[in-house]
Amino acid sequence: MSEDSTLVARALKGDGKAFEMIVRKYEQPLTNYLGRMTGEREAALDFAQEVFIKVYCSLKSYRPAYKFSTWLFKIASNHLIDHWRKKKLPTLSIDQPVDNEDCSLTPQVPDPGPSVARRFELAEIRQKIERALDAIPEAFRELFVLRHVNEFSYEEIADIKSLPVGTVKNRVFQAKEMLRKRMEGS
């Protein structure tokens, strides 16, 4: 039985501390994912709270045969889809220009790279990526974020999104190409 499954079993027996440990373990990756999907840190934190409450209410339906993180991100992804459907938020076109120079995300300072020049180069590229991310369609952005921010394998992403692995690989590739082309144009 995995550590997550043990914590879930304890939470189901009414151990609040066990669920708090689950929240502490996943608050960072979930906020990273939701932050990149919403483009706002505060909104991401609100969503993360709602997702954890949904997870708590659905704990009985969790099957330990599945990876807990995959299950949690599936709930988070569906929560975002529901939100966008309710709000009827416009889907950004890939042809829409990247604007909003002062990025609304407030990332922590990254670890230094191997050299100062390369560090500056990487920092600049990361900033451009964060800005360009807002402008690519959600369907591509989400798969890119799950792969490169949350470091899920292509197979895990396929589970989360109920898509074939080949489709996931292709969409992540397309997302990267969209980002690259946007960054070249900026």
Binding site: Q28, N32, I53, P107, G113, N170
Partner: protein
């Protein structure tokens, strides 16, 4: 060589997602293709940036606030139980009090309660019968009116002839289309506002 055309392979190579034979083939191609080596160097830098995007700041008390919200939600869920429990408790106390004060057994009390409900229902029955009679009369009047309307319509159509009927049908169609699209526009305006 397909690698020059397949841009996806550069990323899959960097992510170590190519199977061993594809990887060997790709590396062999790189060894003899300077332009692909340049592309790979650019993609490597991008890949490094993609995989090192910084984490977002999470407040230290985030987990506690989630637990508070969960407790609040649990309280709200249990909220409907309290009035139900207090209602039942009041009923039991009332019955017991009645038993203690009057000395009547609980079964007698229940029988008395049922009788009082029965007599109340008995008084309501004639009123319900009168309401049904009025309803029947109104239905009679409405059916007579509809019959009259139908006869009038048949007489009008027979006097108009086939051309007149076509004209009226056409006008009716245009009117209903106008009404439909007008209503649709009104609804969409309402949604926008």
């Amino acid at each position: 060589m397909r690698d020059c055309r397949n841009a996806e392979n550069f990323y899959l190579y960097l992510e170590e997602e190519l199977d061993p034979s594809e990887r060997r083939e790709f590396e062999a191609h790189l060894a003899r293709c300077p332009s692909c080596r340049d592309v790979l160097a650019e993609r490597r830098l991008l890949h490094e940036a993609f995989t090192s995007l910084p984490p977002l700041d999470v407040p230290p008390d985030f987990a506690l606030s989630v637990m508070d919200r969960i407790l609040e939600a649990a309280d709200e869920k249990a909220g409907w139980l309290a009035p139900l429990a207090s209602g039942l408790a009041a009923l039991v106390i009332g019955l017991l009090g009645f038993y203690i004060l009057t000395g009547e057994s609980l079964s007698d009390v229940l029988v008395a309660v049922c009788r009082s409900f029965g007599s109340g229902f008995g008084r309501l029955l004639p009123l319900l019968a009168k309401l049904l009679k009025i309803g029947g009369l109104l239905l009679d009047i409405a059916s007579g009116f509809v019959m009259m309307l139908g006869k009038g319509l048949v007489a009008l159509l027979s006097s108009l002839g086939p051309d007149g009927i076509c004209l009226i049908l056409g006008l009716g169609l245009v009117l209903s289309l106008l009404l439909f699209f007008g209503a649709k526009k009104l609804i969409s305006l309402g949604e926008k506002t």
